[in-house]
């Protein structure tokens, strides 16, 4: 019984962390029409910044400063924001699919840095011993996870409320105007670029925050946590849930991560270890199929865009 409960708590924590990433992507794509195919890269910057700043010092690492948790979280957001700003300044003016290619390339490059700059990131070993916030207070893993779940729920709740207000604010209306009408965006010219850049940085900062929360939840990060598949998973979450809708983004995260986890559990149970690679492949195929089938048969996602937000249908 405790096993099931602690598993569910763990699952819920991961869903909420990924939910933050999906909410960030929804701000970029759902509300602004920015095609960020480099989600994994910004998530990685947040996670590694946090890990480098807070992990317990070890002689072979450049970083591992052992700083407090909150410093790591704030710095992770700042570092991701800075990276997103730089990337955005360079690429935000590109048309949709070129932006996708460029941001995909950025994520690949970031992943290569995390893999190859061993002194800073531990390379394929990764960074271990990342402290968990208030871990000393909660003596069992379940107690800690419950506390962390509460913390995450509070953060996601606050972000959700803030995003709902943002997208209904004048700033949010401008974003949608830019998304809906390329001509309006061009007419706005320089200021349209500024709005897009702001949305891009804000959304990416949320991904960085999620990275930091992930690192301090698991206590370990490595380059293999941020492969391009993460980007595709988050996109699947947003599309399946319904882009342009914050509740859709969260629901999509739950559904896609649920399918991913459940299929993973089934595969481990049914498939002999020698075929582990094949089993994992089935998991990915399911995600791919889910994405394609949603686009074909339910393009608006599980929850479509709210009418309040826009009368313009996606297709």
């Amino acid at each position: 019984m405790t096993g099931v409960v602690s598993y569910l708590v763990f699952f819920a924590c991961v869903v909420l962390i990924l939910g933050i990433v999906t909410l960030g992507l929804n701000l970029q794509w759902g509300f602004t029409g920015l095609f960020n195919a480099g989600v994994a890269g910004f998530y990685a910057i947040g996670a590694f910044t946090h890990a480098i700043l807070t992990a317990a010092p070890q002689p072979q690492y450049l970083g591992n400063f052992g700083l407090p948790w909150i410093v790591g979280v704030v710095a992770a957001m700042a570092a991701t924001a800075a990276a997103a700003w730089l990337v955005g300044v360079l690429t935000i003016r590109l048309r949709g699919d070129y932006l996708a290619i460029a941001s995909f390339g950025i994520a690949v490059s970031i992943q290569l840095v995390t893999l190859n700059w061993e002194a800073l990131t531990g390379g394929s070993q990764g960074i271990t011993r990342i402290p968990k916030p208030l871990a000393g207070v909660f003596d069992t893993p379940l107690a800690f996870n419950l506390w962390y779940l509460a913390l995450l729920a509070a953060i996601v709740g606050a972000l959700y409320v803030a995003l709902e207000r943002i997208v209904r604010s004048p700033w949010g209306r401008v974003l949608r105007a830019i998304r809906e009408d390329e001509a309006a965006a061009i007419a706005l010219g320089k200021s349209a670029r500024r709005y897009r850049l702001e949305a891009f940085v804000l959304g990416s900062t949320m991904m960085g925050l999620a990275g930091a929360l992930y690192a301090s939840f698991i206590g370990f990060v490595s380059a293999f946590d941020f492969l391009p598949i993460v980007t595709f998973q988050v996109w699947a979450m947003l599309i399946v849930g319904g882009s342009g809708n914050n509740r859709g983004a969260l629901l999509g995260t739950f559904v896609v991560w649920g399918i991913w986890t459940a299929s993973g559990a089934l595969v481990t149970k049914l498939v002999p270890p020698t075929y582990a690679a094949q089993g994992a492949a089935v998991q990915v195929i399911l995600i791919g199929l889910l994405l394609v089938l949603t686009l074909l048969f339910r393009p608006q996602g599980l929850i479509g865009e709210e009418a309040v937000v826009s009368r313009h249908a996606k297709d």
Binding site: G96, D97, S109, I229, A277, A281, L291
Partner: protein
């Protein structure tokens, strides 16, 4: 050193070019960035492996590690991959096109298709490396540069394929229709061109070229399920570098990417090889977004 890097770069570039032609076609004729094109390369490589498993790679002929059987396998793989590319279009992309879906919905669909296609290969063959042939060969020394006979053969074959393609695009009725549609689908329709037929041909040709790229990549020296995916950025870089315009654009873009990658490796940690095409691409997008051969103001 530089000469060797150049030679290796031209060889890599030839493989990239064969893949980039298809990416460039999709960008221009279907008007979306096909993130699943790399998987056609993988499919081509593994479909050829199926034929090789039956017929063997053939007895090494001359200085090469393979015989005519491998070439036959490559031809079969090209045909089947071309049909597969069209099949994916019928199953996925055409449905979205008919619905008048957002152009970027095609890109999401390509994400999904790529995941499925790549992991079907893992499902069947696993992650282990595979080989068409385990024959060893002795490198030729040409002016201080080491060249494997297989590489030289592949390069010549690639040149021949690209030449045929060029003639097809320049002079055939369908080739002209493809170029017309790349510029303006509406005007092409007004000329009586059946756009769906042109799109079908485009997929078949793109898939066939991707399959050849896959076989060539697999021959030098091995196949693995990421054989195409690892080329994805290079393909986009080459297609955009060449200017999403003319065919010579994609080919020269491919060569430039291959050369840049190999020359950069003289100075950079090889671990960063995968980022090289991207840096080149970023440079192009910033300095000359229409590509090297593209017309100014077209995109």
């Amino acid at each position: 050193m530089i000469a060797q890097a150049l030679a290796d770069g031209i060889f890599t570039g030839a493989i990239v070019a064969l893949g980039a032609i298809g990416v460039s076609f999709t960008l221009q004729i279907m008007r979306f960035a096909n993130f699943s094109h790399s998987e056609l390369i993988t499919w081509g490589a593994y479909l050829a492996l199926v034929f090789v498993a039956f017929a063997g790679p053939g007895t090494p002929t001359g200085p090469f590690t393979f015989g005519w059987q491998l070439l036959a396998a490559a031809a079969m793989a090209a045909l089947l991959t071309g049909l597969a590319a069209w099949g994916v279009d019928v199953l996925v992309f055409r449905r979205l096109r008919r619905r008048g879906a957002h152009p970027l919905a095609m890109v999401f669909a390509a994400f999904g298709a790529a995941l499925v296609m790549r992991h079907l290969v893992v499902l069947v063959w696993g992650h282990e490396s595979r080989f068409y042939t385990r024959e060893l060969q002795i490198a030729w020394q040409v002016m201080g540069v080491k060249v494997l006979p297989d590489q030289a053969f592949i390069l010549l074959l690639a040149v021949a394929v690209v030449t045929v393609l060029h003639l097809f695009l320049a002079y055939s009725r369908t080739g002209m229709a493809m170029r017309a549609m790349a510029e303006s689908p509406a005007l092409a329709q007004a000329c009586g061109i059946r756009t769906e037929a042109v799109i079908r041909t485009t997929w078949i040709v793109s898939g066939a070229l991707a399959a050849l790229a896959g076989v060539f990549a697999g021959l030098t020296p091995q196949l693995h399920p990421e054989i195409g995916f690892n080329l994805l950025l290079a393909l986009f870089a080459a297609a955009i570098l060449g200017g999403s315009g003319s065919l010579p654009g994609a080919v020269i873009g491919g060569l430039l990417v291959g050369i840049a990658e190999n020359v950069a490796l003289l100075f950079v940690n090889p671990g960063y090889k995968g980022a090289m095409p991207f840096l080149l691409l970023l440079l192009v997008l910033l300095v000359r977004p229409q590509g090297i051969f593209g017309e100014k103001g077209e995109r």
